[in-house]
Amino acid sequence: MSMLFAGRAVGATASQPNVLQKLLRAVLTHVRQAITSLGELWRSPLWALITVAVLGISMTLPTTLHLLVKNVQQVSRSYDESFEISLFLKNDASATDIATLVTLLQGDAEVAKVRLIDKAAAMAEFKQQSGFGEALAFLDQNPLPDVLLVTPKKNQPAAAEALMHKLEKERFVELAKLDISWLERLAALMNLMQQAVYTIAVLLLSAALLVIGNTIRLSIMDKKAEIEVMKLVGATDAFIQRPFLYTGIWLGVFGGFLAFLVVELMLWWLQGAIATVTQLYQSDFVLNSLSLREFGYLMLIAVTLGLVGSYIAVRSHIKAIEP
């Protein structure tokens, strides 16, 4: 609508489109501006390339560290059995008492699995593994207690410990045991590493944000005359800033994808070396790469950085340019 002249048909509103047409037109305008921004990036490839490289590299390091943490976690997860709590039962517990206890534990929300190793089975295993086979035959009574192996639902050492203390109080339990100190240390180390990854990520991404902001600022300065003309013929700030925001988004898309490519390349490069190591350790370790979801997050963060970086630049600089 015209500001000054009531009844003067202005702009595309003159044809009085309905809501759907308006929406379609708005979408079309956005798509067109996005493509125009892409085209402009293409025409000025050097600065765009440098910014994409900065963003890509800034995102590569945190992504790599994240993968490292993830893979170490995967290795440590294979030691989950160590979280088993051993419950040594009292000697006077009858078979029925034990069966009741097992059922009880299986019903516990914090317990994932209960396994019973009874005296006889324990003895047989001990005979076989210890090498005292003959000597043990001279015992007139089996000195080993019945043992229940309880696997907690939660994998954190603290939770396992809490569960252990709870189970200790059960009636037929003589002693509960959980060797978790080294697991606790590993968990603490991993936590430290994760925090470090986050800190580095925040620092690097802030730097990338500033670089993007500066790139967009330069591009705005470059188009100062054009922006002045657009303001003179009645363009709103929103209209003028949109192409720059799209430029930021495109920088994010390409930067994120570059980071993904570099990480994948690095993994491919390391695959051989890792295969050698795992072979020597006879482990079935498989190097995990980025999942689709993590790739999604990577791209989302990159695009957000591009958008926010350009928004900061646009916000302060486009208003400042007046004809």
């Binding site: 015209s2 500001m3 000054l4 002249f5 003067r8 202005v10 702009g11 595309a12 509103t13 044809s15 037109r25 079309l28 305008t29 005359a225 054009e226 002045e228 003309v229 657009m230 303001k231 003179l232 013929v233 009645g234 363009a235 709103t236 700030d237 209209f239 007046e322 004809p323």
Partner: protein, 227 residues
């Protein structure tokens, strides 16, 4: 259409660009604004297009007080006022067509409707065959006419021109003025700031003369010593 009421504009440092200027431009009227460089012509036009705000007094367009227009509404005011500049201010890396289409793109036109209007505007200034050219390949007069086409493409009721013939030789200047006359005859109000007194005198339109920020003459002929 356009009314100034005791409008003054001073700049920091004490320089007074306009001093209590009042006039009214009727709907469909064409007038010249003249005076030496620094007399306040450009400032007066800038107050209409809201590039500047007056220090005192009021400017009305079609009865709307421009002092009531908020900063974010300025773009919409400018869409109602076609502006032409001495240095034509074309986008040099866009084709003539794109330059003329700019106001339409801003208003959300697309496709065939936009092309139709751009071609109509270019036809009115006689440059239909140059639509695909870049502004750098045009002569001064042609570039200025592209500027006019851009100003009129969305059919504003009011047209402002700031020294549109400043860089042109007399023949080309006459052509440009004829283009303005044609738009005026189609019902558009036109205000042209120019110091080309000879040309203005021959055109015989209402002429307002500014001197040191004061309106010293408002009539059919130019009078420098009308104080």
């Amino acid at each position: 259409m356009l009314r100034f009421e005791q409008v003054s504009k001073g700049y920091s440092g004490g320089f007074v660009a306009l001093d209590r200027v009042s006039f009214e431009l009727a709907k469909g009227e064409m007038a010249f604004l003249t005076g030496h460089s620094g007399a306040g012509k450009s400032t007066l036009l800038k107050l209409i297009s809201l590039i500047e705000r007056p220090s005192a007094g009021k400017v009305f367009i079609n009865g709307v007080d421009l002092s009531s227009v908020k900063a974010r509404q300025i773009p919409y005011v400018r869409r109602d006022v076609g502006m032409i500049f001495q240095d034509h201010r074309l986008l040099m890396n866009h084709s003539v067509f794109d330059n003329v289409a700019l106001p339409l793109v801003i208003e959300g036109f697309t496709g065939r409707e936009m092309a139709k209007r751009v071609h109509a505007a270019l036809d009115q200034v006689g440059l239909l065959d140059k639509a695909r050219c870049l502004p750098a390949t045009l002569s001064g007069g042609e570039a200025q006419r592209v500027g006019i086409a851009r100003a009129v493409v969305n059919k504003p009721p009011l047209l402002l021109a700031d020294e549109p013939t400043g860089n042109l030789d007399p023949d080309l200047s006459k052509d440009i003025m004829r283009v303005f006359e044609a738009f005026n005859q189609a019902g558009v109000s036109v205000l042209v700031a120019s110091h080309d007194l000879g040309l203005i005198a021959r055109m015989r339109y209402r002429t307002m003369t500014l001197k040191a920020g004061k309106m010293i003459n408002d009539g059919l002929t130019h009078q420098e010593d009308g104080e």
